[in-house]
Amino acid sequence: MTESIDIKHIARVEGHGSLYVTTKDKELVDVKMAVDEGARLFEAFLRGREYTEVPEMACRICAICSASHRVASTKAVEKAMGIKVDQQVVDLRRLLVWGEYIESHILHALYLALPDYVGHESVISAAADFPEVVKIALKLKKLGNDMQILTGGREVHQVSTAVGGFTSYPTHQTLDEIKERINEARADLQKCLDVWATLEEPDFERKTTYVSIKRDDEYALVDGDLITSEGHRVPVEKYKEIIGEDQPAYSFAKSGVHDGHGFFVGALPRLNNNTDQLSPFAKKALSQLGIKLPSYNTFHNNAAQLIETAQVFDMAIDTIDALLKSDLEWHEFETVPKAGFGTHITEAPRGSLVHSYEFGDDGLLKKADIIAPTTMNYLNMEEDVRALYPSIADLPRPELELMLNRLIRAYDPCISCSCHVAEVK
C-alpha cells in the first residue's frame, strides 16, 4: 500500500518548509524536502547597490542569523576592496557574533527543540511544567541579544556595523557590565546543561560529510579555511571545491552536494571538526552530556548547540578582555571603493555561510553568490530521513511524524534564510 506522509509547514523552525515522504508497504520510496517560501531574489536586487549598502541589505536575508550575514557580507566586501580594519573592529565583530550564537542556540535548543524532549507542543505550554528552565532560557537569550545590541545597536539587523568599522563603540563600562553578566550566566547555562543531561536522545546514526571552517589557533567561527570531516581543506575563495549545489527537479531548494551526496553543516559538524580546540567550559559540557566525538547522530546537533554556547561564553570573555585593554575611542573611518572579488565564509549558528561578491570600480555590486547553511543541508536531511525511516516505520502515525519533525528540526533549519529557495508553481 502506498502511503504518503506529508508534513506541511514544519513547525518551530524559521520559515516555511514541508516534508513529503512516500512509502510502500512500510518501505520508503521517496523523500522530498519542499520549500514554501516565496522568492525574494536577494542576489538579483543586490546588484547595482553600493558596496556600503550591500551588507546592510544582505543581513535581511535572515533575522535569526542576521549578525552572521552582516559579518560575512561585510568581510566579503572588505576583501573585494582590500579594506583593512583594526583589531578593535575585529574584536567587536567577534563579540557581536558570540552574542548571536548565545541567542540563536538558546532559542533553538531550549525554545524550539526542547519541547519535543519533554512532550510539549511549544515552549509556551512547556512554561507551565518547566517554569525555571523557561525563565533561564529567556535570561540567556536576552544576554545574547544584549551583546548584539551592545556591539551592533540592535539584536535583529544590526545598525552600527559598517564596511570598514563600526559607527559607534561600546564603552568600557558597558563592556564590564556585560562581562559580569556573562560570568554570572555560567551558572544558568550549567542548569540548562544539567537538565539536558537527563534527556533521552533518539538513537540514530549515519555517517556523512561534516563541513565547517577551521583554524589552527582557535575554535573557528568567524574566520578560517573550509574543511570537510575527511580532511579536505581549502581557502574560502575555493568554496566551490567543497560545496556544490544541486537543484532537484521538484523544488527550487538548491541542495548542497559534496562528492555526489549530501553533507552537514552546523554545530555538530563544527564540534566534530574542531574537537581539539574546545574551551574548558565546552569540554566540561561535552563530557557531562556524554556525547562521544565524532558523533554521527544528527539529533546530537541540539546538544552540540548548548556545548557551543559554553564555548562562546569562554570566547566572549577573552574578546571582552582584549577590548577592555584598548582605548575604545570611536573614530571616523573612510573607505574607498574598488573593483574586485571577495568571498567570506562565516559559521552562522546553523552552519557555514558563504557570501561571495564581485564589484565594479564604481563600488556597485555586479554579482553575488550567497549560500546559506540550510540550503547546504537539504540533501543531507533527505538522506537522513531515508536512514531513519526503517527504524520508525512501525511507530503509530503521530509518533512517526513527530520523529520526522524532530529529525528535521535538529538541523535548526532556517528556511527563510536559504535564499536560493522558493516554492515552485
Partner: protein, 257 residues
C-alpha cells in the same frame, strides 16, 4: 475570546526574514506577561499545535510574494477581528518588492537559472492592498517596543499610537550629532518616527526602513541630499529601498529628482 476567556491571537509569517516574529520572541522581559494575557492559538514559528482561528487579533508579517499568499492572507483576514501588519514587508512591500521596479523574469533567471519560469513571483504590494489593515507597525524589523504598545493598546481598547512626524524630531530629543550635517546620506527628515532614532543614535544614517512620515516634504529632502553631493539616482534608489510601495504614491510620482 479563547475558551479561557483570553483574547486569541494568531501570528503569521509570509515571505520574509522572520525578523518581526523573532522580535516577538526577543521580548524576553515581556513574553511571559503577554502569554498570560492572550491565548496565542496559531504561531507556526513557535508552536507545533496551531488552530484555524478565528482570532481576535492577527499579526501578519512578510511580503505577499506569490500568488497563493493572497488567498491565505484573505482567509486570515476573514477570521480575524483586528489585523495588524508588522514590519516593512507587510506595510510597504519590503526589500523583496524591489522587483516591482525591475524586470522580474531577468531577476528570477539570475538567481534560479534557466528554469526560472517555475518560480511564482508576483509583484509585491503591501498587505493593505489586498485586505483591510487595522494597524501598521512599520520598520525592518518592526520595533519591539511598538509591538508591546500595540498589544497593550488593543487589550485595553485604545488606538495604538505611532508618532506622526519624522525621525529628526526623535533624533534631536536624543541629542545626537546630526549625520546630515556631517555630510552623510540621512533620510531622517522624511521618515516615519517611532524607532527612537535608533540608527542615528548609533552613528548610522537613517535608511528609511519605516517608510515616509505623514506629509513628508520629499522635495526639501531631495534638495538637502543634493547639497551633500547625492545624485538623483542615489536619492531615488534609497527612497525606495525598504519601502518600494512608495513608488506607487502620487506624491512620489510627482517628485522631481
Amino acid at each position: 475570546m479563547g475558551n479561557n476567556g483570553k483574547p486569541t491571537v494568531g501570528i503569521f509569517g509570509f515571505t520574509g526574514c522572520a525578523g518581526c516574529q523573532l522580535n516577538i520572541l526577543n521580548l524576553e522581559d515581556h513574553l511571559l506577561d503577554i502569554i498570560s494575557l492572550v491565548d496565542i492559538t496559531s504561531w507556526v514559528m513557535a508552536k507545533a499545535e496551531n488552530d484555524d482561528g478565528p482570532w481576535d487579533v492577527a499579526f501578519v508579517e512578510g511580503s505577499i510574494a506569490k500568488s497563493t499568499d493572497i488567498e491565505r492572507l484573505k482567509k486570515i483576514r476573514e477570521k480575524s477581528g483586528v489585523l495588524v501588519a508588522i514590519g516593512a514587508c507587510a506595510t510597504h512591500g519590503g526589500l523583496p518588492a524591489l522587483r516591482n521596479l525591475a524586470d522580474t523574469d531577468e531577476w528570477k533567471k539570475e538567481v534560479y537559472g534557466d528554469d526560472y519560469e517555475r518560480i511564482d513571483a508576483i509583484d509585491i504590494k503591501p498587505v493593505s492592498h489586498y485586505v483591510k489593515v487595522d494597524y501598521s507597525l512599520p520598520g525592518c524589523p518592526m520595533d519591539k517596543a511598538e509591538f508591546v504598545e500595540a498589544v497593550k493598546a488593543l487589550l485595553i481598547g485604545k488606538t495604538p499610537y505611532i508618532p506622526q512626524y519624522s525621525v529628526c524630531g526623535e533624533c534631536k530629543a536624543k541629542e545626537n550629532v546630526c549625520l546630515l550635517k556631517e555630510g552623510k546620506f540621512c533620510m531622517g527628515p522624511v521618515v516615519q518616527a517611532g524607532c527612537d532614532a535608533l540608527c542615528p543614535t548609533y552613528g548610522a544614517a537613517c535608511e528609511g526602513c519605516r517608510g515616509p512620515a505623514p506629509e513628508a516634504n520629499w522635495a526639501a529632502e531631495v534638495e538637502i541630499l543634493k547639497k551633500i553631493g547625492a545624485t538623483s539616482e542615489d536619492v531615488k534608489r534609497k527612497f525606495l529601498k525598504y519601502c518600494p510601495s512608495v513608488a506607487d504614491m502620487e506624491e512620489f510620482k510627482e517628485l522631481e529628482f
